[in-house]
C-alpha cells in the first residue's frame, strides 16, 4: 500500500468513527471527492473538528508522528486543505514528508 493509500485509509477510518455518532441522513461518504468543509459539506463545524482530531489521533497510532493538522500553513492557504478528502490526504502526505 503506498503512502497516499495509507492516508486515505486513515481518513476513511476516521469517517467511520464520525459516522457512528451521526444520524443516517447526516453521514458522509468515503470517497476522494467527499466535501468536508464549506457550504457544500454535510459536516457542521463541530463535525469537522471531530474529524480532524480523529485523523490526527489515527496518524499518531499508525506512524507515531504527532501532527497538528490545523497549522499556520493550512490556515494561510488560499485553498483550504480541509476542503475534501482528496485535498486533506494530499496535505497530510506533504506534512509527513517533512517530518
Amino acid at each position: 500500500m503506498n503512502e497516499l493509500n495509507k492516508i486515505h485509509k486513515i481518513i476513511f477510518d476516521a469517517i467511520d468513527v464520525l459516522n457512528e455518532g451521526l444520524d443516517i441522513e447526516k453521514r458522509i461518504s468515503k470517497s476522494n471527492d467527499t466535501v468536508l468543509y464549506g457550504t457544500n459539506s454535510r459536516l457542521d463545524s463541530f463535525g469537522l473538528v471531530n474529524l480532524i482530531i480523529t485523523v490526527e489521533e489515527k496518524i499518531q497510532d499508525e506512524t507515531g508522528v504527532a501532527l497538528n493538522l490545523a497549522d499556520e500553513k493550512a490556515l494561510s492557504r488560499k485553498s483550504s486543505p480541509f476542503l475534501t478528502v482528496g485535498t486533506l490526504s494530499a496535505y497530510i502526505e506533504e506534512l509527513l514528508k517533512n517530518t
Binding site: N50, I53, E56, E57, Q60, G64, A66, N68
Partner: protein, 234 residues
C-alpha cells in the same frame, strides 16, 4: 468520583504550587505528569517529568504523545506554569512582555489545545487555569502580568463554551499572594498593601488551592465551567 486514580498533568512542577499539587495528588493515588524547564525532585513510580519550555509546540506535542501512549487518557490539566514581573510600565523591557505572554498565555494555549484533544475521547475532562486577583484589582506595577492573566480569563470563559460538548470543564482560580518564588522580589510593604485589599486579609496557603482544585475536578462539578474564582473575597 474524587481525584483517586485520575491521570493529571500539571505544568511548572519543579517548585512552588506545581510541586505541592503534584505531591498532593500523588498521595491521592493519581498518576501525575509534570513539566518544567528544570528537572524535578519528585520521586514516585506514578510521576513522570518532562523538561521543556511550555511554549515550545514540538516539545509539548511530544509530551502529549507520551501521555497518549502510556496512559491512553488524560483526566485533568492544571495550567500552573507562570512567571511574573512587577515594574513601572515605563520601565518594562519588551522581553518582559514577550516572556510573560509566552509562558502565561501561549503555554496555557498549547497545553489546553492538546489536552482537550485527548480528553475529548473519554468525554470527560477538567482544565484549571491559574489566574490572579491582579486582574480584578488593576494593580499598579503589574500591567504586563495582569494583562497576561486577563487573557487567560477570557481564554477560560471561551474554551469552556467550546469544550462543553465534550464534557470538559474549564475554570480559573485567581490566586492571591503566597510565599513562593513568584513574589520573592516584591517588597513586603507592597504585599501588605495588596493583602489589605482582600476581604480575608491573609496570605494564601497551599491547602486553599488544593481545596478548590479538589472541588473543581470532581465528576459532580461538571455543571461548573467558565468561572473565574477569586480567592480572598475579591
Amino acid at each position: 468520583m474524587e481525584a483517586e486514580s485520575k491521570v493529571i498533568l500539571i505544568t511548572g512542577t519543579s517548585k512552588g504550587i506545581g510541586k505541592y499539587l503534584s505531591e498532593y495528588y500523588l498521595e491521592k493515588n493519581c498518576f501525575v505528569y509534570g513539566c518544567s524547564r528544570k528537572p524535578s525532585e519528585i520521586e514516585s513510580k506514578n510521576y513522570r517529568h518532562f523538561c521543556l519550555d511550555v511554549c515550545d509546540e514540538k516539545e509539548v506535542m511530544k509530551l502529549f504523545l507520551n501521555i497518549r501512549n502510556e496512559s491512553k487518557k488524560l483526566d485533568i490539566l492544571i495550567n500552573n506554569a507562570g512567571i511574573a514581573s512587577m515594574n513601572h510600565f515605563l520601565l518594562t523591557p519588551l522581553n518582559t512582555m514577550t516572556d510573560i505572554m509566552n509562558t502565561n498565555v501561549i503555554g496555557a494555549f498549547l497545553f489546553t489545545r492538546e489536552a482537550a484533544k485527548l480528553m475529548r475521547k473519554n468525554s470527560f475532562g477538567r482544565i484549571i487555569n491559574f489566574s490572579s486577583v491582579a486582574v480584578q484589582l488593576d494593580l499598579a506595577g503589574e500591567a504586563v502580568y495582569a494583562s497576561s492573566k486577563a487573557a487567560l480569563n477570557s481564554f477560560t470563559k471561551i474554551t469552556a463554551k467550546e469544550f462543553a460538548e465534550f464534557n470538559i470543564t474549564v475554570n480559573a482560580i485567581a490566586l492571591t499572594p503566597m510565599r513562593t518564588d513568584l513574589i520573592k522580589n516584591v517588597p513586603e510593604e507592597k504585599i501588605n498593601k495588596l493583602i489589605g485589599k482582600l476581604t480575608v486579609k491573609r496570605l494564601m496557603e497551599f491547602k486553599d488551592i488544593s481545596n478548590l482544585t479538589d472541588f473543581l475536578i470532581r465528576e459532580e462539578s461538571g455543571f461548573i465551567t467558565g468561572q473565574i474564582i477569586n480567592f480572598g473575597g475579591i
